[in-house]
């Protein structure tokens, strides 16, 4: 089951998805993190972000919506608070980053380049692009290309670009990332969704819309992975609605070289480790 994913050596092809596992520590009481193929940390940004107001989550049929808003302490505090724990792990650690501008991505990458524990950088291009008025970077092949290039220039570790499914043709974005030098692609981030509270007449989430995750989106994620795997040569990491090793197998059939387990971790603290065990 061991794989070499774009230069990252993993005991098995199962990672945890960014934002669903904190910085790893949160799950250490419940499961043996060293049984994972790799750990991907929650998105870290240059400056601290307090995140969106509550309510931030709600349940939907076989899924959930979230609008966490990338709450995180910023890269400086992250280095101090999260890295010491991550260093103790025996598995590769992949740091997920997001910037509000192209420059911020590069700056984050430069800072992380100095950290030995960082075995890969996952670039979250699904956050809103402040400069171009809130539409996610990941919807525009040009922006994805620019971000990828600038991160590639800044770090020697493999660069993984994580794509949003909320686009007309995800293969265009994937190809742009590949052409810009991405070492791998993660697909997918959450699907844009919304739900209303009948009691209040208002959206259930503070920001109205949010990101749909969980089994409900698995067919969408499998489709995206399949489309991308046929369009690019770099490895694809599949994520979206994986609860069991059987679910993970669907992604491998679709062409994924590795998978990430996200929302399932909330349902079962051992979900990711069980998926890995089930692939043997």
């Amino acid at each position: 089951m061991a794989i070499n994913l774009a230069g990252i050596e993993m005991k098995n092809p199962v990672m945890v998805a960014s934002g669903t596992y904190g910085y790893g520590k949160e799950f250490a009481d419940y499961t043996d993190l060293n049984k994972l193929g790799a750990l991907v940390t929650k998105t870290v940004t240059l400056k601290a972000r307090e995140g969106n107001p509550p309510p931030r989550i709600c349940e939907t049929p076989s899924g959930m919506l979230n609008t966490i808003g990338l709450q995180n302490p910023g890269i400086e505090k992250f280095l101090k608070e999260a890295i010491p724990f991550l260093k103790k792990l025996k598995i590769p650690v992949i740091i997920n980053i997001a910037g509000e501008t192209i420059e911020e991505f590069a700056e984050l990458a430069k800072i992380l380049e100095k950290e030995k524990v960082v075995k890969g950088i996952e670039v979250n291009v699904s956050c809103p692009n402040v400069k171009s008025g809130g539409m996610a970077f990941g919807c525009d092949p040009d922006l994805v290309s620019k971000i990828t290039k600038s991160v590639k220039k800044a770090v020697s570790a493999p660069v993984i670009v994580k794509l949003t499914p909320n686009v007309t043709d995800i293969t265009l974005i994937a190809k742009a990332a590949e052409a810009a030098g991405a070492d791998a692609i993660t697909a997918i981030n959450t699907v844009l969704g919304m739900s209303f509270d009948l009691k209040t007449g208002k959206p259930k989430l503070s920001r109205g819309v949010g990101g749909l995750s969980g089994p409900a989106i698995r067919p969408i994620a499998v489709r995206c992975v399949w489309q991308i795997a046929q369009a690019v040569k770099i490895p694809v990491i599949g994520v979206g609605g994986i609860m069991t090793s059987d679910d993970a197998k669907e992604f491998f059939l679709a062409g994924a070289k590795a998978v990430q387990v996200g929302t399932a971790n909330f349902v079962d603290t051992e979900a990711a480790v069980k998926v890995a065990a089930g692939l043997k």
Binding site: E26, E50, I57, G63, Q71
Partner: protein, 262 residues
């Protein structure tokens, strides 16, 4: 340290309409839980309902290795939970969160529970025995049908007052209103009193206001929608003076003065 385990259902009963108590076998949680903590319960092996549901620990008996939760049927998840049967196993995470603090320098505690908010207060009342001499419990509800049995609190040697919004049982009025006479009467409206409350947000806010007015500490058990229950997803935050805090980890119990009410 919380754990995830399969706990056998020892008993499940409907105490009143739509109002259930489940008794679970859990040596670990009954031994380690403190008042105000909660368990996060997986409802189904299916993908819908997907997320766990949080419930306060209502009662914990380490000798008998059991814990109890009290819940109202409000949606799909609690409905399915109410249909579970004795000997089935429930996948639970616990004990989670930061419970009530029990100071050693108080003479009087007032516990205010609105509706199902009473759930963590019995555990608390028992924990207060021998630590705070006078324990008052105010149990409020919409109406008689929703009023929770006070027997267990009587047994815990509390002075219990019940009230309903419509006066159909106990006194007529909102639970926080009945704190004032107690506070006045006891004349210890100062550092010797502490308020504990759990219930709907408006009730908690009213308690916080009274606490502020009388300058006495209050600890409130807050609710917010949860995904992980273990501090990983950042889903369950509420606004506090030190920024967004996680109900599942930093709470559910917060100091009243910490909370920023919308």
């Amino acid at each position: 340290m919380p754990i995830q385990e399969k706990a056998k259902i020892l008993d499940i009963r409907e105490l009143a309409e739509n109002h259930f108590k489940i008794t679970l076998l859990s040596k670990y949680i009954s031994t380690n839980a403190t008042a105000g903590q909660f368990v996060n319960v997986r409802i189904s092996e299916e993908t819908s309902p997907l997320l766990r549901r949080p419930f306060s620990i209502y009662n914990s008996e380490p000798q008998k290795e059991l814990i109890e939760i009290l819940f109202d049927v409000v949606g799909e998840g609690t409905k399915m939970l109410s249909l579970k049967e004795v000997n089935e196993e429930l996948d639970i995470l616990g004990p989670l969160g930061t419970g009530f603090e029990i100071p050693t320098d108080k003479k009087m505690a007032i516990l205010v529970g609105g509706g199902i908010g009473i759930a963590p207060l019995l555990f608390l009342a028992r924990a207060l025995k021998g630590k705070i001499p006078a324990v008052y419990v105010i149990i409020g509800a919409r109406d008689k049908k929703h009023l929770i049995d006070k027997k267990e609190f009587d047994a815990a040697k509390c002075q219990v007052l019940t009230c309903t919004d419509d006066g159909s049982a106990g006194k007529k009025g909102l639970a926080p209103d009945f704190m004032l006479p107690i506070l006045e009467e006891s004349k210890s409206i100062d550092k010797e009193t502490i308020i504990y409350a759990c219930g709907p947000k408006p009730m908690l806010k009213a308690c916080a206001e009274i606490a502020e007015q009388y300058k006495i500490p209050a600890q409130l058990s807050m609710e917010e929608k949860m995904a992980c229950g273990i501090g990983a997803c950042m889903g369950c935050v509420i606004k506090t003076k030190s920024g967004y805090q996680k109900v599942c980890e930093d709470g559910p119990v917060f100091k009243a003065e910490e909370i920023i009410w919308e």
